[in-house]
Subunit: 217 residues, 2 copies
């Protein structure tokens, strides 16, 4: 991806649109779309075609006139750009089965994403280890975040306790939270929560399978 | 949600748009939008406002004239409709840490979603149990799917082996697959694959946190 040396010159306004572009491109790719023109893409994401072409031009030669853009290639390039170039230290909150699996997998696809500490409110498991990470009590979170330079948290705390856990995460100074409990939590404006809702993903898959594709309909 | 008795009278064309509506409403909700008019929603999803109003009218009184629609309420209603009303039996393929966590959690939020069998290609773990489910060899998949009425598969098989695993899942007659390996696999047209890409979700969260919100920028 030789184009990526241009990344540093990208205007901030362009940078801000990248996650939007990537998200829609993935939806298009998932629907089997392999190629798209700026006008068509504009219709989908409601950004003017000229803006799309200008944004993409900052990233190098991504398309050909009259042909449009190659969707899988754009996904590759944008994924690469969104890929953080510096280490991000992550705290895991909630050390049940899912939490353990996350620590053990530890984002192997990206060496810059590292879960470095783990917390749980249950006295029964505080002090136990997942691989080489010792589970600490929630009361230690703020201190540990300051000590280790953690900037990101992943919460696997169940919905009924999620708000309480998120409040402690926010209080510890963390502004980026990946939340595996799908119920929406309340956070200050400067805090970003991304939800992973596996039940809804599965339900939507089944609904598509039966309604769109007509399997077992 | 008294409106839901009208669900059965919903035209198929409306039903087909529900996952699209829900997906975009969640994106809007995640961006802090709490209320939207049909015209604005139309601009986002490229469905004519009259179609949106007609679709929504099949679902009961979801909006008020001049006020628009309440986004969290619509998310609730649509999530409820997409929620399958009959039991779906699920096969888990790949019994590493993540697979184990999925079996143990087993979609507790929805009693109709049940992981009933588990498979792995590693002889070392075939025969072991996760809770009361015995891990079976991949060669048993087709037979077991037919015997137990499984219609959905979840694959946690790593990317480099995912295509091989997906081929066996498809061969077993399953058409709905939730895939935790983000690299795209090839499947026949009647098979639906939904990807869960935790690394990209985390990267996008971090990117938003730094670029949009200006934290640590």
């Amino acid at each position: 991806m030789k184009e990526l040396h241009k990344e540093k010159k990208m205007p901030k306004a362009t940078a801000k649109r990248l996650p939007l572009y990537l998200r829609y491109l993935k939806m298009l790719g998932d629907s089997g779309v392999t190629r798209i023109k700026s006008k068509e893409f504009s219709d989908v994401i409601q950004v003017p075609p000229a803006t799309i072409r200008r944004d993409f031009s900052h990233l190098g030669e991504l398309g050909r006139s009259g042909y449009g853009y190659d969707v899988p290639y754009l996904i590759d390039v944008f994924s690469h750009i969104l890929n953080t170039q510096e280490e991000k230290r992550i705290a895991l909150i909630g050390c049940g089965n899912l939490g353990k699996a996350l620590v053990k997998n530890n984002f192997r696809r990206n060496e810059n994403l590292n879960i470095v500490c783990a917390f749980d409110s249950s006295e029964a498991i505080v002090g136990l280890s997942i691989d080489d990470i010792v589970i600490q009590p929630m009361e230690k979170l703020k201190e540990e975040v300051e000590k280790t330079g953690v900037t990101v948290a992943i919460s696997t705390v169940p919905s009924q306790y999620a708000q309480e856990a998120i409040d402690k995460i926010v209080d510890a100074g963390i502004t980026a939270i990946l939340n595996f409990a799908p119920d929406r939590v309340t956070v200050p404006n400067n805090v970003n929560v991304q939800y992973i809702d596996l039940t809804t993903e599965l339900q939507t898959l089944i609904y598509f399978d039966e309604t769109f594709t007509g399997n077992r309909a």
